[in-house]
Symmetry: C3
Subunit: 271 residues, 3 copies
């Protein structure tokens, strides 16, 4: 295993100790949840989205999270400024291309951002396939909205090579690749799909790990493993998605090493 559970735990301990400032430009549906997930984890979130200040704020942040869920034109401009600034000052950033394939507008915005050198891109299978097509000129494959994460792995590897980002596909099994290495994380619970924006929270959590780990592949595996284990703990005994959403924050906050190490199911697929 390239990244043992104990090594992941060390990264979580670093997040808790250093409380990195994570700058989020994210959608209006999940702003509260993403901030709370980061606080529960031990990071320090900020939700700042005006073009008048994103560059200044990126410069004092340890990681940047860009999520296009509730896209509008001023936000695209702010995201581009933030992404460019992040690369200029060496702050890692992660892209969440929510609903990338749903409309031409969204597809174009996601594609443009993917070309601005994110450290990581995290999406579901359909989003990653759409983005792989966007960044590769002339591709004409069809896209539907129910790709399983396994089926999208080929697209993820291609996208990783085209953009030089680590690419994560989340689903029943999560896959992480840098185009060469591939890891699978088998944590999480089906009830998590009944809570809005948990994919967005996972992206934010990866952002916190990017702030304490220079290898984005390791940071992404760690973020998804911690988030998945917390989700499993939260789902146990939850009466439904309302309870799960609340219990997930408690689980992120209260997670202990022995529990995590026992529950973590990461494995290396390649090379």
């Amino acid at each position: 295993m390239t990244l043992p559970a104990e090594a992941i735990w060390t990264l979580l301990a670093a997040v808790r100790a250093r409380r990195p400032l994570v700058h989020n430009i994210t959608n209006f549906v999940v702003m509260n949840n993403s901030a709370n997930a980061l606080l529960a984890l031990g990071a320090s979130p900020a939700m700042i989205h005006s073009s008048d200040e994103v560059e200044d704020f990126v410069a004092i942040s340890q990681a940047v999270v860009i999520n296009i869920g509730t896209l509008y034109s001023e936000q695209i401009a702010a995201c581009k400024l933030a992404a460019a600034k992040a690369r200029a000052v060496g702050v890692p950033w992660i892209l969440d291309p929510v609903g990338a394939g749903a409309t031409p507008y969204r597809r174009a915005a996601a594609g443009a951002l993917a070309r601005l050198e994110p450290s990581v891109i995290r999406g579901n299978g359909s989003e990653i396939i759409t983005l792989a097509e966007q960044t590769q000129a002339g591709s004409g494959r069809g896209v539907d909205s129910s790709h399983r994460s396994e089926a999208a792995l080929g697209a993820a590897r291609q996208l990783a090579m085209d953009t030089r980002a680590v690419v994560a596909i989340t689903g029943a099994v999560d896959y992480v690749t840098d185009g060469h290495r591939v890891a699978a994380i088998e944590n999480g619970h089906p009830l998590m799909t009944r809570v809005t924006g948990l994919g967005c929270s996972a992206t934010a959590v990866i952002g916190a790990f990017l702030a304490v780990e220079r290898d984005p592949f390791a940071a992404t595996v760690a973020g998804l493993a911690v988030f998945g284990v917390a989700g499993e703990i939260a789902a146990t005994g939850s009466a439904g998605p309302g309870t799960l959403q609340v219990a997930l924050l408690d689980a992120l906050y209260a997670l202990e090493e022995t529990t995590f190490v026992k529950a973590c199911r990461c494995r290396t697929i390649a090379p």
Copy 2:
């Protein structure tokens, strides 16, 4: 009874089986809650509000929800585009005229949207009375903010006839009318008024039923009955509005046929 509880249950089963895509242009206060209510119910929500993509997204949706809670000028433009597109492509849409009477700006926006042929309009008594005045030239009746839903029923019937929409007034008792038929739903719980945006969630839930039932009168009665029963279940044993909000999502998710049929209190008033 025009719509027996068993028939309502069949519609809920259809929502759960088909997972209709419900496009919401809604306010920033309730975006998370509305999305979670739809997910808990079994539908597939999307919150998309930019004029650059709402028409494209309406075209792939099964129902559209338009809510003016946190109104601003770009949003009015987007709502009008979405409403027009919905009618053009035959997708049912529902209007929630939040706070319609509070300011001239809001009154004008709600009135303009009501004239764009919504399938359903859902509001509280004051909102429906305001809207009835807006859509009927020259009316000069006074409006205050504490109309009981019973008292607004006359305005609702008139609004339904003026707009050809089904009109729902929610309150201690909910009323639904198409100008001729009138149904009353006596589910729900007083503690629900202490949670922000549950009216907006009810509107979103009706949207999901519009996606599976062509008669908007039946869809509206069904949506309000299911939401009201879930609210009653959630209120039982809740220590306050915080717990209620969480338990409501669990109840929408876990609702079973025998429980629902026993608790449902819909009746036909007219004709």
Copy 3:
């Protein structure tokens, strides 16, 4: 003690009885929470932020809350209109200068609003120190982001004298000053710092007290004491920040006089 617990309770009883309309122009992260805190307390919240209607809405409100968390240029304009209108019509308003020192843009916006005669300004230590520098020309003291509330008290007194607002610094101990009088409130719980936007909720709650009490010093002490006691009750037995957030709304809703009077820890420091 300038404000005994029994006097605070009388103000809470007035909020519950009169259900004042509290107009919030606040950030997207906390809109739902702030509205729910106000509803749980017994007030009637509205979240209205368009320049096209804020002045009309201020005129029918009993208090206004302005919070710059997720700032953007249209919002600054709306906040200025609302603040000016509030003073013109005699409606008290409270400023929450979220992250005032983080960027030049934010510092300027907070400073400009502080000069528009708020009744109360509530922030953490760093925000209050930043604002004290902004409103006092030529000051060059450094600011960092971890000032303890005690250390910021001098800045708060100066800011209160410069702006004629009551200034509250919240932290492990909360301080309230009008430049002369100083009160300390020792309620609250450390876990509250792990939930996003509870400072913003405290500001909103003070807004409700401003609607029923003409002395902004008394209203601010009362709001912070009630919020702090509710937070303590909520923290007791909470498994983490998720549960705390929910339990806080329940506690605000269910708070009883004997519990409050016993738990309230306010004291006068000066004069």
